[in-house]
């Protein structure tokens, strides 16, 4: 009896141990798949086969050296249709929701990816109705077939638009930027002086660690004639005319021009557009603070750059 009890205990222990091992294996597999998904997403982020004629990738507009903004007012799409809004930077984009300057419905990166890829207002990458073509193009590449299989294990046919979107979103969530002088509490005396002005006049909206309250605001009076009505274009509520989400300010020094339409060439212009008039020295110190929000490691981190290899071979 005693022996039978010992055996039973041993069996329970063995089953428990098996469970622990299974859990560890499952966790390891999940970690491997996550790593593979990020790697796949990075390659896709830089792949222009996600556009109609193979000329535009996500990275065409989201350039790392510009904090994943692009340095132009707006960017035309593959059909040469002019862009409507300034390309936003992507620092810490995984922490944002909503994600874009005037559409509160876009609360996940997975949903947002389709705006440039499939969007028609304006046409950017021009793949509306051609999702299957993306899968067809990628499926011709043996390395992509392996990468999708590793990123989405257990899926019968992993190369599809839905998984393209998931992988890009997974990569974008890695775009963390917390290495500025501000983050390291290494602000100069001028920057600290600028911080006083910032706290008084700016921080109500440019709030939190990413300097945005993620809320939609309008500066000035409603202008029904403005070409871009912002939030109103989604909600159709009169009070939403001209409202745009507070932009984050990280890496601001490399993301010019500014404003939802890129109409402000410099930070000084953008500050003035808020209606603030500062003495020159106050403005200078405020600009020093804004410069201190630049994370230079983020701008050159090779983990975020155009991948040089995939599946062990040069791309």
């Amino acid at each position: 009896m005693k022996r039978r009890g010992s055996l039973a205990a041993l069996a329970v222990f063995a089953l428990g141990a098996t469970g622990i091992v299974s859990e560890r294996v499952r966790a390891a597999n999940n970690a491997n798949a996550t790593t593979a998904r990020i790697e796949l997403g990075r390659r896709l982020f830089y792949d222009a086969d996600l556009s109609q004629d193979g000329t535009m990738a996500c990275a065409t507009c989201h350039e790392q050296r510009h904090g994943f903004a692009d340095g132009n007012r707006t960017h035309p799409g593959v059909t040469n249709e002019a862009g409507r809004r300034n390309v936003p930077g992507l620092a810490n984009v995984g922490e944002f929701s909503p994600l874009t300057s005037a559409d509160p419905r876009l609360t996940t990166l997975e949903a947002q990816v389709s705006v440039p890829v499939l969007g028609t207002h304006p046409v950017e990458m021009g793949m509306a109705g051609r999702e299957a073509e993306i899968a067809r193009r990628l499926g011709r590449d043996a390395c992509y077939r392996r990468m999708f299989a590793a990123a989405f294990p257990g899926t019968a046919d992993p190369i599809g638009y839905a998984n393209v979107v998931r992988a890009i979103a997974a990569f974008e969530r890695t775009l963390a930027s917390h290495g500025s002088a501000y983050d390291h509490d290494a602000l100069s005396a001028d920057a600290r002086a600028g911080q006083e002005t910032f706290r008084r006049d700016c921080a109500a909206c440019h709030a939190g660690k990413n300097f945005t309250d993620l809320a939609f605001h309008r500066l000035g009076a409603i202008d029904p004639a403005a070409a871009d009505q912002g939030l109103f274009e989604v909600t159709a509520h009169e009070e939403d005319r001209g409202k745009f989400r507070t932009p984050p300010l990280r890496n601001l020094s490399v993301t010019a021009p500014y404003w939802h339409d890129g109409s402000m060439p410099t930070a000084r212009d953008a500050i003035a557009r808020h209606g603030f008039v500062y003495p020159p020295e106050t403005m200078r110190r405020l600009e020093v603070l804004l410069d201190a929000l630049t994370d230079h490691d983020f701008l050159s981190n090779p983990a975020f750059a155009l991948p040089a290899t995939a599946c062990g071979r040069q791309l």
Partner: protein, 172 residues
Amino acid sequence: MYRSIIMIVLIAASAGAPAAEEMSTTKPACITNVAPSGELAPWVNPVPAKAGSEAANAPLLSVGKATSVTLLPTPDVHYALRPEKPGGSVSYGGLLALDVAQAGTYRIALNSAAWIDIVGKDGALRSVAHGHGPDCTGIRKMVDYVVPAGRYTLQISANGAAQITVLAVPMK
């Protein structure tokens, strides 16, 4: 017209800026094509050429002479230096040789938004300015480089069509 060309604002690239950034285009509707003048006057008479698939077989792009270049499918092109914007498998690219006899600032004009690199023995040159061409001339993009004398490879990548018009001119 020449005056209007002079008035074109080329965006001075910041230090370290790459070759060929693209800008927004809010262009006027063009009823008829307009011939550019000044340095860009040769634009209207392109001669045909076929791009090389690698530096060793790249045909010479004559400075001051517009060239209508037939490109290759991107997977068939072997770039000396991987372009920053390599283009997808369905895009087109190719290589041209560029001989610069006299050092100076050279402008590369294109009829598309293709990515370009000028690659010398020390790697790719950095552009010093970029912008649009004069309205309604068909010049979509212009990139300026300060180029020492020597032999270079002009890499064209991420073009949406098999044909591209290219003009390289010295700037005064």
